[in-house]
């Protein structure tokens, strides 16, 4: 009985002691004494090589407006920035512009200016990678406009920039033009060196943001861009789901078309090394989609017509993919991961070559097959 009593005293004492830790579940520094950064940008400075800035929420602005009241905050975020010789140097300057300590754990996106991305990512990756707080799932994007102005935009839906980008990408109906890449994926690509980095291009549009294509990297430098159509073709090779595809059925100026939605692709890439040392990749892309639009309207599609649509879509996709692959070779940017396939099939050959010297010289044989899964509500 005495033992049970003693045990209870211990339990109650332990519970009481634990209450001290409840007051600061984060730290001794409470949440309201911190600045929570929701996005980060990097650019070239005016007087220094690096400019680093963060978008911070206005304290209190995250509370929703109560019924019958108005949201008091017209704009929910502001920007602070700093310049320096390196990223930490810029960070040091940035911190002097705020009284609160900055918390990085909620960063949703990192935006790089194209000028910064063209210089190289080595320092950026080291800085971001060593910072424990930065989530590995943070999205990385490139902009050709001023990243500071981009993040300082008052979005029409009053979202914070980082949250906007996260919501865009995490929507289950995301489009094929938005091929996302996260921080941890960039680390993986850079470490393994069997492919190159790519990043979505983000630009302001209609008071909000739009994805305007894809930035291509060769090794760790940005070397070029793909437009939206090219990005969609690349998405098919990279098996990014839920896309759209509009296929013209006549010549230029002819309005006849068939449009598919819910595009899904399955690609198989096979390297073939001939005895003469010539390397070729056979790219087989199987695409499936559902008919969503037909001009002129036809509510009774015959099997022969379906085959014609499928053939037209297949040819168009083949042409687009070939065009994109040629462009990738021109920029020496293997964003598809052909190097990885080569490493698997010919590991010894892979070890003996410098992939970036070989990639522009390899041949491609593209094979596409399109399948229409259904015709929507109409027959």
């Amino acid at each position: 009985m005495t033992r049970l009593y003693s045990f209870r005293v211990w339990i109650i004492s332990a519970c009481l002691l634990m209450t001290f830790s409840f007051t600061g579940c984060w730290d001794v520094e409470e949440i309201n004494r911190r600045n929570t950064a929701n996005s980060l940008f990097l650019d070239q400075g005016q007087n220094n090589p690096v400019k680093l800035g963060i978008s911070i929420e206005v304290p209190g602005s995250l509370l929703p407006a109560y019924n019958g009241t108005e949201q008091l905050f017209q704009k929910r975020n502001y920007i602070i920035s700093g310049e320096g010789r390196g990223l930490l140097d810029a960070w040091k300057v940035l911190q002097t512009n705020t009284a609160r300590s900055i918390y990085f754990g909620q960063i949703g996106a990192v935006i790089l200016s194209d000028k910064f991305a063209k210089v190289g990512l080595t320092d950026l990756l080291d800085f971001l990678g060593r910072w424990v707080e930065i989530p590995g799932n943070t999205y990385i994007l490139v902009t050709c406009s001023d990243p500071e102005q981009l993040l300082d935009l008052k979005l029409r839906n009053n979202f914070l920039p980082g949250n906007y980008i996260q919501t865009y990408y995490e929507s289950p109906s995301r489009k094929s033009l938005a091929i996302p890449i996260r921080l941890w994926q960039i680390f993986t690509i850079v470490a393994n060196r069997t492919s190159d980095i790519f990043m979505p291009l983000i630009e302001p549009s209609q008071g909000q943001y739009k994805i305007a294509g894809l930035a291509l990297f060769s090794r760790e430098r940005m070397v070029g861009t793909l437009d939206v159509e090219e990005t969609e073709a690349l998405a098919l090779v990279k098996e990014v789901q839920n896309g759209y595809l509009t296929v013209p059925l006549g010549r230029t100026g002819d309005n006849r078309l068939v449009a598919f939605y819910n595009i899904k692709s399955n690609s198989k890439i096979q390297p073939v090394l001939s005895s003469s040392g010539q390397l070729q990749f056979i790219v087989k892309v199987l695409i499936a989609g559902s008919i969503q639009e037909l001009q002129p309207r036809d509510v009774k599609i015959t099997p022969a017509e379906i085959r014609r649509y499928q053939k037209a879509a297949s040819l168009m996709v083949k042409k687009e993919i070939t065009k994109v692959l040629t462009k990738l070779q021109k920029y020496n940017s293997d964003v598809v991961g052909f190097g990885g396939k080569l490493r698997i099939k010919y590991p010894r050959y892979w070890e003996s070559i410098d992939w970036h010297q070989e990639f522009p010289k390899v041949g491609f044989k593209v094979e596409t097959r399109f399948t229409s899964e259904n015709t929507g509500v109409f027959r």
Partner: protein, 375 residues
């Protein structure tokens, strides 16, 4: 012959061994698998288990040959008194180092990821005090607590392990076999075997704990199944780690498991699975450390005599603390670890094998009679 009157059944031994192998071996195995075997690191778990089988067999076989005796007690019966003293002392030194290293792992993770502003020494001291308290409960108490949390641990670990496969890229673990003669010749694979055997080092504790087993008939089976389960869970995370980061990508990180935990989530339901799993992993490590602490204290008690293990816990407390905080430099610790695993391989794999062979060669009469006693 036992100082303590307590005993543990096969069930408790199962939980204790699982906690020790998983809690200690989990944190670094994926790094070493990727470092020394590259893409073939996916076979790391199987290799670990194969290496552990002879050690577990020797633990049980010597336990049967010398019933109710720990390694410290039966060493003089296998070798002469003087070599027994030296081997016993070396074994105890290794147990102290194992306790220190286990403590170091958990403290470093706390310091880097959870409490960056708290001094490393404070974190280490607090965790050591917890281990000190747990150890006071004896082997039965430690194993009962590990049994209490076993189901929670298994559920969360399985949840984490399965969800860690969401970004798995098959290409990163291909080709399945990519062993080269060059790496075999330059000793890279051998070095890898020694480093991967780090997961098997908790078996050193079993040489002290096995005499407490009440049903020795089930000893080998219990140890094989519990080690197998722990290694299987480790193996699954080795595969998912290499499958996600690639073999070279894993090597970027000091603690690959923590980085995996940061990015693992169950979409829509749970964004931070790692946050839930981390306490489980750390608790497992805490119990692993406590069992090593107990084995060390018990070993000291049997080796030096005079006091029981509770008193030796006090003597060991400053030794473990100061040895653990001797260097706070992460880079230095990593290079020291190479010597530690080599020492561990010698003490836990080669030395027991050597002792077992000598025990086999002992005069049949003595060995037979003692085996008879065990039955």
């Amino acid at each position: 012959m036992l100082n303590e009157k307590t005993a543990i059944g096969p069930g408790l031994l199962f939980m204790l061994n699982f906690s020790a192998v998983y809690g200690y071996g989990f944190f670094l195995s994926m790094y070493f698998a990727a470092k020394y075997f590259g893409v073939n690191g996916i076979w790391g778990g199987i290799l670990i288990f194969i290496l552990m089988i002879p050690v577990l067999y020797i633990v049980t076989d010597l336990g049967h040959r010398f019933p109710g005796k720990s390694i410290i007690r039966y060493l003089p019966e296998i070798t002469n008194a003087f070599p027994a003293k030296i081997i016993g002392f070396v074994y105890l030194v290794f147990l102290v180092l194992l306790t220190c290293w286990s403590l170091n792992i958990i403290s470093r993770i706390f310091n880097l990821y959870l409490l960056p502003r708290t001094p490393f020494q404070v974190i280490l001291g607090l965790i050591l005090l917890i281990e000190f308290y747990i150890t006071s409960k004896g082997i039965e108490g430690i194993s009962r607590v590990t049994a209490f949390i076993f189901i929670f641990c298994l559920i969360f670990v399985l949840l984490f392990t399965v969800s860690s496969y969401q970004n798995f890229q098959l290409d990163n673990v291909l080709p399945i076999f990519d062993f080269t003669l060059k790496d075999l010749k330059n000793g890279k694979y051998f070095e890898g075997i020694i480093h991967l055997f780090n997961v098997g080092l908790p078996s050193a504790m079993l040489f002290m704990v096995y005499p407490y087993l009440s049903e020795r008939r089930k000893g080998l089976k219990t140890l094989l199944v519990s080690s197998g389960l722990a290694v299987l869970l480790i193996e699954m995370v080795i595969i998912s780690n290499i499958g996600i980061w690639g073999s070279k990508g894993v090597l970027q990180f000091d603690w690959p498991f923590m980085e995996l935990g940061k990015q693992t989530n169950i979409p829509v339901i749970l964004q931070t699975v790692g946050l839930f799993v981390l306490p489980i992993m750390l608790i497992q490590n805490l119990f692993a450390g406590s069992s090593f602490y107990f084995a060390t204290a018990q070993g000291c008690s049997e080796f030096f005599g005079k006091y029981n293990y509770r008193i030796y816990r006090w003597f060991l407390l400053p030794i473990i603390f100061f040895t653990s905080v001797w260097t706070t430099n992460a880079v230095v610790i990593r290079s020291l670890f190479n010597y530690f695993v080599a020492f561990g391989f010698g003490v836990v794999f080669i030395l027991p094998l050597f002792l077992w062979l000598i025990a086999l060669m002992r005069p049949e009469k003595t060995a037979g009679s003692e085996r008879g006693q065990s039955k």
